[in-house]
């Protein structure tokens, strides 16, 4: 079995190596991907079309915003699936833990976390809000935000974190994030454009169509941030307790 697997891997490897001879040279500005009109359009027109200085965010949240909407949905699905599978599982999971963790939260740790958490959260907001100007965005900001709640759960216990962010509210917030994203798209649909055509938002907001794209990108990033924050924490809470939502790490 191992030998067959090895031969298969070798075959695929040789196939991939064979394809490399046909690749454009490393960093070649004339390669199809770099010189294609699509890439050139992104480079030349991002500023004109959207007024967003960060090209990557413009591609992610506007030119290919539909992909990103479904990536957010994928995050939502992951949380939903893990939560629903683990919750109320078979009886065997309720067995006693091998060791009982029963001690007071450590003074040094909790006080350090008390200081750090607000900083992390403000930094998360910064990353999220500056996504279209500098590197960052909804996914990164959301992960930092979610991590702050996980840090609370790790340094006190899960109950303390759940008191601040109950598991039911996680899914409400996550769904809300998708509603924000798809809702912005829908609004532009109702205003006479295509789905996710943010420029049409200029009809109801006192900005130019380009600035409407700029602001709508911030809007969808906020939606992404909501979903990612909530699902990050929900995944941690579900997985660390086998879905029981008590004890935990």
């Amino acid at each position: 079995m191992k030998k067959t697997a090895f031969i298969l891997v070798l075959c695929i490897g040789l196939l991939l190596a064979w394809a490399v001879q046909d690749f454009p040279a490393w960093g070649d500005p004339k390669s199809p991907a770099s010189s294609s009109p699509v890439a050139s359009h992104f480079i030349a027109n991002t500023g004109v079309d959207t007024e967003v200085p960060n090209m990557v965010t413009a591609v992610l949240a506007d030119y290919r915003g539909f992909d990103t909407m479904f990536e957010t949905v994928v995050v939502f699905i992951a949380g939903l699936a893990v939560f629903s599978i683990l919750r109320g599982g078979p009886k065997s999971r309720t067995r006693d833990r091998e060791f009982v963790v029963d001690f007071e939260p450590d003074l040094i740790v909790t006080n350090t976390v008390r200081l750090i958490v607000p900083v992390i959260q403000i930094f998360a907001f910064y990353v999220l809000a500056h996504g279209h100007v500098s590197p960052g965005g909804g996914f990164q900001g959301g992960v930092a935000m979610g991590a702050s709640f996980i840090l609370i759960a790790l340094s006190w216990d899960l109950k303390t974190a759940l008191a601040r962010f109950p598991i039911e509210r996680c899914f409400t917030v996550a769904a809300l994030g998708i509603v924000i994203y798809a809702g912005i798209g829908l609004l532009s649909l109702f205003l006479g454009g295509e789905f996710l055509d943010y420029a049409h938002l200029a009809k109801i907001f006192p900005v130019s169509p380009e600035m409407a794209r700029y602001h709508a990108m911030l809007g969808v990033e906020i939606g992404v941030g909501f979903t990612v924050t909530a699902i990050m924490f929900a995944l941690y809470a579900s997985l660390s307790t086998d879905g029981r939502m008590r004890d935990g790490l």
Partner: protein, 519 residues
């Protein structure tokens, strides 16, 4: 509405979010919300199909975000394209989704009590993903939607019985490998063409003559390998039987008719639209090789189906065999084979739905789908059994069910291309299906047990008490969808010419060989 094409994806998406949000308040609203959103989805997909039929170029294009397509190669924004093939598949997906949503009331309450909001959320997102796959015109967007469909599928399957978790883990591993192969292939495509738009990629291949480029050939192999794993083509089928067997009833009813079929659609889309006929069939070696693999696939799957003693597991192996039919229909490379393949996607979705709905009812009423527990079911649930057997007859290929006509085109295709091995395999597999279903009919109608011993006392006696054969039909919320599915099987069969006409309009521009050369 001119936007109906994007609403096909949005209605289930918003339905899912409504289930997740509203379910926190009251779990009772989930079922009506999902049925309503499915009704709306079917409505817009019918509308999209008619728009595509009426449009002069037989396709509608919708650019998300309103970006222009004037560049060459196109591909600045993401495009949704509904040609006749895509619109037909989208209608099949949403139609099956509606029927299963209607059916889901009783089984979901029994099998996943308290988890309805999550269940219906995943259910609707699954339909959103699959319908999106059928409509998207962008190779990377296709990957994202495949991920949506796959992840919801894992969640929906893992909610089943105890062994479902292990089966899902298998499925996750294999599904992820398949998706990675596809993604790697798309990466190679972008490297060589500089666009992700499906039509754009083909335009670049034709304009720059990339037919002999090694990177493009490897890209094709990777994409094809990924899709073959995802569609459970024979050597890669290992995830399918356990996953569909241990999944909750509603899940197997939704996934079994759709997932593998949609992946075959993706293969046809890749072959015809992305790589183009010339690249896929004429400049390469796999057209000789794949039909033989198909022969092995169909024979093995049919024999394994014969070895099963449980309805759901038997049906799962039947799906693997049917996948072989459709892959073969594409790779024998001619006009009739492709008509057969596309038509078989539609008819196989209908008949597999019919069979799984029937099996779900049997499981609900008898608590087992093992062959031993079937005796006397016809007197107990005559309507369910009629619906179930209409699906069975369609799998065998008896007229006037739709299975007969699609198989007819597949066999014609094999004959025209002089692929006798494929034709003989189809005939062999038809014989196996006859054995499978008539054995079931015997179990249900006659008084013989597993060893062939007669348990009854004389004519018409099943060896059961009055109590056991008392009329006890399934609840209406399950029976009506089954009969609906059965009538769709018959209607698609009777009106097969109308469906085939649309498929022919779609296939005409590709100049496939029709094989008439004896003049």
């Amino acid at each position: 509405m001119s936007d109906s094409i994007v609403w096909i994806v949005l209605f289930p998406l918003f339905g899912a979010v409504a289930c997740a949000l509203g379910g926190a308040i009251s779990k009772k609203i989930c079922y009506p919300v999902s049925v309503l959103s499915m009704v709306a989805t079917v409505w817009v997909s019918v509308d999209t199909l008619f728009q595509a039929i009426e449009s002069p170029i037989h396709e509608i294009s919708y650019i998300l975000g309103g970006w222009s397509l004037d560049l060459f190669p196109r591909g600045v924004g993401i495009e949704f394209r509904a040609d006749l093939l895509g619109a037909l598949i989208a209608l099949v997906v949403t139609g099956v989704g509606l029927i299963v949503a209607l059916y889901s009331k009783v089984p979901v309450q029994r099998e996943t009590p308290g988890k309805e909001p999550m269940y219906y959320g995943l259910f609707l997102l699954q339909i959103s993903g699959l319908a999106g796959i059928a409509l998207t015109g962008d190779a990377f967007n296709l990957y994202v939607l495949i991920e949506v469909a796959a992840l919801t599928g894992y969640g929906l399957i893992a909610l089943g019985t105890n062994r479902a978790a292990a089966a899902t883990f298998n499925y996750i591993i294999l599904g992820t490998i398949g998706a990675s192969f596809y993604l790697l292939g798309v990466g190679y495509l972008y490297l060589k063409t500089g666009t992700l738009n499906m039509v754009g990629i083909r335009e670049v291949i034709e304009a720059h003559g990339l037919f002999d480029s090694p990177a493009m050939q490897v890209a094709f192999v990777l994409v094809l390998l990924g899709i073959l794993i995802k569609m459970a083509f024979f050597p890669f089928h290992a995830w399918l039987p356990n996953a569909y067997c241990h999944a909750p009833t509603t899940t197997s009813c939704l996934l079994a008719p759709l997932v593998t079929k949609v992946m075959i659609y993706v293969m046809i889309r890749m072959v015809l639209t992305v790589f183009g006929v010339e690249f896929s069939f004429e400049s390469t070696w796999w057209t000789e090789f794949l039909p033989w693999l198909v022969v092995v696939a169909i024979v093995c799957a049919a024999v394994m189906a014969l070895a099963q003693r449980e309805i759901k597991r038997m049906l799962a192996y039947l799906i693997v065999a049917e996948v072989g039919y459709m892959v073969g229909g594409v790779w024998i490379y001619n006009y009739y084979g492709l008509i057969g393949s596309v038509f078989h996607i539609i008819s196989d979705a209908c008949m597999t739905l019919c069979l799984f709905l029937g099996a779900g009812i049997i499981l609900e009423k008898c608590k087992t789908t093992h062959f031993n527990g079937l005796r006397g079911l016809f007197s107990k649930m005559p309507l369910t059994m009629i619906g179930f057997f209409i699906g069975g007859f369609s799998i065998i290929g008896l007229p006037p069910t739709c299975g007969f006509f699609s198989k007819w085109y597949l066999i014609t295709g094999g004959m025209v291309s002089e692929r006798w091995e494929y034709m003989i395999t189809l005939m062999f597999s038809t014989m196996v299906m006859v054995v499978l279903f008539f054995r079931l009919i015997e179990r249900i109608h006659l008084a013989v047990d597993e060893s062939g011993k007669n348990l009854g006392k004389g004519h018409g006696d099943l060896g059961l008490t009055k109590q056991q054969t008392r009329f006890d039909e399934a609840p209406l919320s399950m029976l009506i969808p089954l009969l609906l599915a059965a009538s769709v099987v018959l209607l698609v069969g009777v009106y097969n010419q109308e469906v085939v006409d649309q498929i022919e309009v779609f296939l005409q521009p590709f100049n496939l060989p029709t094989g008439v050369k004896y003049e």
